[in-house]
């Protein structure tokens, strides 16, 4: 399948591509879904990822990639319609419901999702997850933010450094 196909999908079955995670798990998805990633889009347009080849993604593990693809598969039809100008209100509500559900996951996954979305340039996903984490830490104290994001408590040195900084620049935080 070396020749790029036209985007009309006029030859029946949708074209599939294979993505390979950092831990060597293979994922087969529709080219349209994977093309939500700006990074992958050109490769796929060039006919890459088809057949037995697969596109290696050395920066994304399988747990994260399966989550990323779950998002892409759901959002691909709307994206194909060019931002869904003719989408019905029901469709939009359904996507919104999906998005809300989608980010209802452990914070550690959220962080790796943002990195993967950044890496693969999936604007919508990056925005969705970053917004979720932002909401989680909004209005929280520095210590609460650390705990929310699962950072280890500051070491005595870090604490001392921070205290010294605040002593000097505390006025800038008013």
């Amino acid at each position: 399948m070396a020749a790029p196909e036209s985007g009309d999908g006029n030859n029946g079955a949708a074209r599939m591509v294979t993505l390979i995670s950092s831990d060597n798990t293979r994922f087969e998805v529709e080219a349209a879904a994977a093309s939500l990633s700006q990074t992958l889009q050109l490769t796929i347009l060039d006919g890459g990822g088809g057949g037995g080849d697969g596109i290696p993604l050395p920066n994304v593990d399988s747990a994260t990639l399966s989550k990323v693809l779950e998002y892409c598969i759901k959002h691909a039809p709307a994206a194909a319609n060019g931002g869904a100008p003719n989408a019905t209100a029901v469709d939009r509500a359904e996507l919104e419901r999906f998005d809300n559900e989608f980010v209802n996951i452990d914070q550690s996954v959220l962080y790796s999702l943002i990195m993967a979305a950044h890496n693969l340039e999936i604007e919508g996903l990056q925005s969705l997850v970053a917004k979720k984490v932002a909401d989680m830490i909004k209005g929280k104290s520095p210590m609460e933010i650390r705990r929310t994001l699962g950072f280890p408590d500051p070491t005595p040195e870090e604490q001392a450094e921070m205290n010294a900084h605040m002593l000097e620049y505390g006025w800038a935080y008013e």
Binding site: I137, R146, E158
Partner: protein
């Protein structure tokens, strides 16, 4: 053995003994000079070159025997004892290509190409001549091939036969003029953090997020973050005219958008009766004098 990269070498022809050049070595570690002995005998026009991280001496045996067709490359094995070993003997008497190599007056080994880290396989050695040709010598098959020829476009200029105008250039992906901090700021983790912080209100970022960790503070204080933040909040595209007015207590100023102030009906009490000098916004702060 000290690593060669810590040693600077240069050949030196001292004035007292013009016929006997020396290899002077300066150890960057010990900051001491020492002299290296030459291999078995000395040939005029020897030159030094680094091959696979080792200091080597190239000897063109034509210099002492016009009938000779051999280039020798000696490798320095030990700096302290000046032990050299004959690493390659390039015989140029064979095929036409090889004889082509020996015709020019000056022949210089300019280095080796390939992955220097793999010591198991020997990389091809590049040899340039004063006839503007570059040859690659494959140590395994002991074969020579021409890899580059420059037309002698400068024929009109009188080029000294000793001029060999080729040298090796190694490309590197190490960023130039980029501090470690900047690299930290472009790590995937920092990029993810940035995406989150962009979506927070400025107040949250300034008051709380800056105190989360040193890394976060560095990220938030960076110019690139400030730019991205204002871009994201679309602040730059809709400038507001702000008035400095009396606010709250007797010595406090506050900013009021001109539009709001006019709509609410100018309140005489909020007018300033003192002259105020206000700085341009800088990282979200204004200075008032």
């Amino acid at each position: 053995m000290m690593r060669p990269s810590f040693i600077l070498d240069w050949e030196e022809t001292t004035e007292e003994t013009p016929m006997r050049p020396a290899v002077l070595s300066f150890s960057v570690v010990n900051e001491t000079f020492s002299c290296l002995r030459f291999p078995a005998f000395w040939v005029e026009g020897d030159h030094l070159v680094e091959l696979d991280g080792h200091l080597c001496m190239v000897r063109d045996l034509r210099r002492c025997d016009p009938d000779s067709t051999t280039l020798e490359i000696w490798k320095l094995i030990d700096y302290s004892s000046s032990d050299w070993s004959l690493n390659y003997r390039i015989d140029c008497s064979g095929p036409v290509v090889a004889r082509d190599l020996l015709r020019p007056k000056v022949v210089t080994v300019i280095g080796s190409v390939g992955n220097c880290k793999s010591t198991s396989e020997r990389s091809p050695i590049l040899i340039a001549t004063s006839k503007h040709k570059v040859f690659a010598y494959d140590p395994i098959s002991e074969s020579l091939e021409v890899v580059h020829t420059t037309m002698e476009i400068q024929e009109s200029h009188q080029i000294q036969p000793s001029n060999v105008r080729f040298s090796l250039f190694r490309e590197s992906l190490v960023p130039v003029h980029k501090a470690k901090e900047e690299m930290d700021l472009s790590s995937p983790l920092a990029e993810a953090t940035k995406e989150i912080l962009l979506r927070l209100p400025a107040k949250s970022v300034v008051q709380n997020c800056r105190r989360v960790s040193k890394q976060w503070r560095r990220l938030i204080s960076s110019d690139s973050f400030a730019d991205a933040f204002f871009l994201h909040k679309n602040v730059g595209s809709r400038p507001k005219i702000m008035l400095v007015v009396w606010g709250g207590g007797p010595t406090e100023f506050s900013f009021t958008p001109l539009h709001d102030w006019l709509q609410e009906g100018p309140d005489q009490g909020s007018w300033l009766d003192t002259k105020v000098v206000c700085s341009k916004p800088c990282h979200g702060m204004n200075l008032i004098l």
